[in-house]
């Protein structure tokens, strides 16, 4: 298992190099000008000097390797230094946002907690809704519960989050006035009352994303349970005189969870992607919003960094999913 994991980790390196190169090229070749955001009054010669200092006129491969070194070595060290206080970060240049002139990593560190809060909570809420839903739906296949559940999850799965988001705002914020429509990221939880405010403002984005996640995962859960409920070993468990609860929640569930857990792990990066839209709708200033603003402003370093982070997440969670599969299913031994 361990050697398998290590081998997979090593194999991930060329994949990530390739992805990073593509990201670098795509963003590089797009016709956005890093000085476009500067005031129009700046004369063309100065503009050209600024471009020169940003290194945009070097050969592409040189730019790539310089950038790659910053991305995978210097910036992570800065991040570690920020967290631990160890003086390990190199003094050289950093990846600087064109728009804000501050290091991209600092922006990401500022934005990450909001995204993690919203995405993380909504994913957990989604899983907590999805698992019982899928289990009961499968166990009571074709019952009213199953049919209503199937219908809702079909809707939840096929309606995009920007629509449900706006719908929720119209219903719960505008008409009913229960929750604020905008997520205030400066809000700090210090006591019970401010905690209630936090819960209220996070409910809508979490519900929107959570429902979407729940409908997807509950489909998997149901299908996986159904696959297993008809297996011979279930009959054996019943023939042993075990109660239905043990049969379903121990024997069947343990088997059904294997593919579901893998899907849950695989989907985590996708949830980050999906959060971009939800963050936009609810004005959460997380990573997603950072990315959108950067794209609109032609802020190449930010777009590149965020894209690379997403790529790393995808490759990483693919690996985690594979390893989990091996851990959960004793029939699979990779070594």
């Amino acid at each position: 298992m361990l050697t398998y994991t290590i081998r997979r980790l090593i194999l991930a390196i060329p994949t990530l190099l390739f992805i990073s190169f593509i990201i670098f090229l795509i963003v590089k070749l797009s016709p956005s000008d890093p000085t476009a955001g500067l005031p129009l009054t700046i004369p063309p010669e100065v503009r050209e000097q600024i471009r020169e200092s940003l290194g945009v006129n070097d050969p592409v491969l040189v730019q790539y390797f310089k950038w790659l070194k910053l991305m995978v070595w210097d910036e992570p060290l800065h991040l570690v230094e920020d967290w631990t206080g160890w003086q390990i970060a190199p003094d050289g240049p950093r990846i600087i946002s064109y728009q804000t002139r501050s290091p991209v990593m600092d922006l990401i560190v500022q934005r990450m907690p909001q995204t993690l809060w919203v995405v993380g909570t909504s994913y957990i809420v989604g899983i907590l809704i999805a698992l019982p839903l899928g289990i009961i739906s499968a166990y009571r296949q074709y019952s009213v519960f199953d049919q209503v559940g199937t219908f809702i999850s079909m809707v939840g799965f096929s309606v995009p989050t920007f629509f449900t988001g706006v719908l929720f705002i119209v219903i719960f914020a505008v008409h009913l006035g229960w929750f604020p429509s905008v997520y205030d990221t400066t809000h700090e939880v210090t006591d019970w009352d401010s905690f209630v405010v936090q819960v209220k403002q996070i409910i809508m984005p979490v519900m929107v994303l959570g429902l979407y996640n729940a409908s997807q995962i509950s489909r998997y859960m149901r299908a996986s349970m159904l696959d297993n409920l008809n297996q011979d070993y279930v009959r054996t468990a019943r023939a042993k005189g075990l109660g239905e609860r043990v049969v379903v929640l121990v024997h069947v569930l343990r088997n059904s969870m294997i593919p579901v857990i893998t899907v849950i792990a695989l989907n985590i990066p996708a949830v980050f992607g999906g959060a971009i839209i939800t963050e936009q709708v609810f004005k959460v200033n997380g990573i997603g919003q950072l990315l959108i603003i950067a794209i609109q402003g032609g802020d190449v370093p930010v777009v590149q960094t965020v894209s690379v982070i997403f790529a790393v997440l995808i490759v990483l969670f693919n690996l985690i999913a594979d390893v989990l599969y091996g851990v959960l299913d004793p029939r699979i031994r990779y070594d």
Binding site: Y233, T236, R238, A239, G241, L242, P330, R331
Partner: protein
């Protein structure tokens, strides 16, 4: 005989099981009656779809309900009617007082739990053993069914065992709580010939040691001849003939049984052929039969067979057959 006491461990009367499916009802078990004495081995034969499994599964209510429905009959076991007892009582009997072994050992064990866990489950549930006691007993059981290195193998998963070894594990599970009755539904069909013989030997041996009564479902008349005390022949969801094993082979009364025996070249020793070689189609069980179910394929069929479903007529020597034709006189039975 004192109140409630009977010479039988199992006394089944007029058992009737129906499946309600989209395409209408399937009358899988029609008024089946039979008895089982303590320590007796009853062989059950009949072609595929004749209702052998459904009959035995109905006894211990192990069928999915719906679609299955037990329409009537009584199943006396240890002074209780299993058709009427609450589910909880039934669960205390399943796997404790009545053990089951199924056809396919490759799929009958749960792939994600160790063999030890699966073997200890009934011990802990029915006998209230703690982990230590259950482990000791589990080792004993594995040794009893001839699994070498038993203690170490408790921690292995089913996929680490061969087919024959898995079937031994299944037998150990079924016998874990020292049941009064063991129902074995084609326990050797899925195994290699040599392994089949080993499992047969094992069962014979265990029967000597433990003295439980056994219901042995099979297609293989050779197996029946080798181990059964009594044989019950099923056709179209009915018992068509029943007799002590020698009597049945020497003096078959039902045309179906006679045809079955003709298709077996050597009863003693040599392996019997499968039963499917009989010409014609099995009956469609869409409604409770009002004529003899074997009529369409019966060489002796005459006018009365179309009007009435024959009852089981006693022909002496503990032998009965459900047929209007009397081979002794070569004429219709005088009833």
């Amino acid at each position: 005989m004192p109140d409630g006491a009977t010479p039988f461990v199992l006394d089944v009367k007029d058992l009737k099981t129906v499946f309600r499916t989209r395409g209408g009802e399937v009358h899988a078990v029609n008024d089946v009656s039979f008895t089982l004495k303590p320590g007796e081995l009853l062989g059950v034969v009949g072609e595929s779809g004749s209702g052998k499994s459904v009959t035995m599964m109905s006894l211990i209510r192990l069928l999915p309900m719906p679609p299955a429905e037990i329409r009537g009959g009584r199943v006396m076991f240890e002074g209780q009617d299993l058709a009427k007892v609450p589910e909880e009582t039934m669960r205390a009997i399943r796997g404790a007082r009545i053990g089951m072994v199924f056809q396919d050992p490759m799929t009958s064990l749960n792939p994600v739990f160790t063999v030890g866990y699966q073997l200890m489950e009934p011990l802990r549930k029915h006998m209230g053993m703690d982990k230590a006691a259950a482990t000791t007993r589990a080792v004993e059981l594995l040794e009893l069914v001839g699994i070498p290195d038993a203690r170490r193998r408790l921690g292995d998963y089913p996929h680490q065992f061969s087919g024959g070894m898995r079937q031994r594990v299944m037998i150990a599970i079924a016998l874990a709580c020292d049941p009064k009755v063991l129902i074995a539904d084609e326990p050797t069909t899925a195994l290699d010939v040599t392994i089949q013989a080993q499992i047969l030997e094992l069962i014979k041996d265990l029967r000597q040691k433990l003295g439980m009564a056994i219901v042995w479902i099979t297609h293989d008349l050779g197996v029946i001849a080798g181990i059964a005390d009594r044989v019950m022949v099923m056709y179209g969801g009915q018992v068509v003939e029943q007799a002590p094993v020698r009597e049945l082979f020497a003096n078959p009364q039902h045309p179906y049984t006679r045809m079955l025996l003709e298709t077996v070249p050597h009863i003693k020793g040599a392996r019997a052929e499968k039963l499917r070689v009989i010409q014609g189609q099995p009956p469609i069980l869409a409604k409770a039969p009002e004529s003899c179910p074997f009529m369409a394929r019966c060489p002796q069929a005459f006018e009365r067979c179309a009007r009435q479903n024959p009852a089981r007529y006693d022909v002496g020597n503990g032998h009965d057959a459900a047929c209007f034709w009397d081979f002794k006189t070569g004429a219709p039975r005088d009833v």
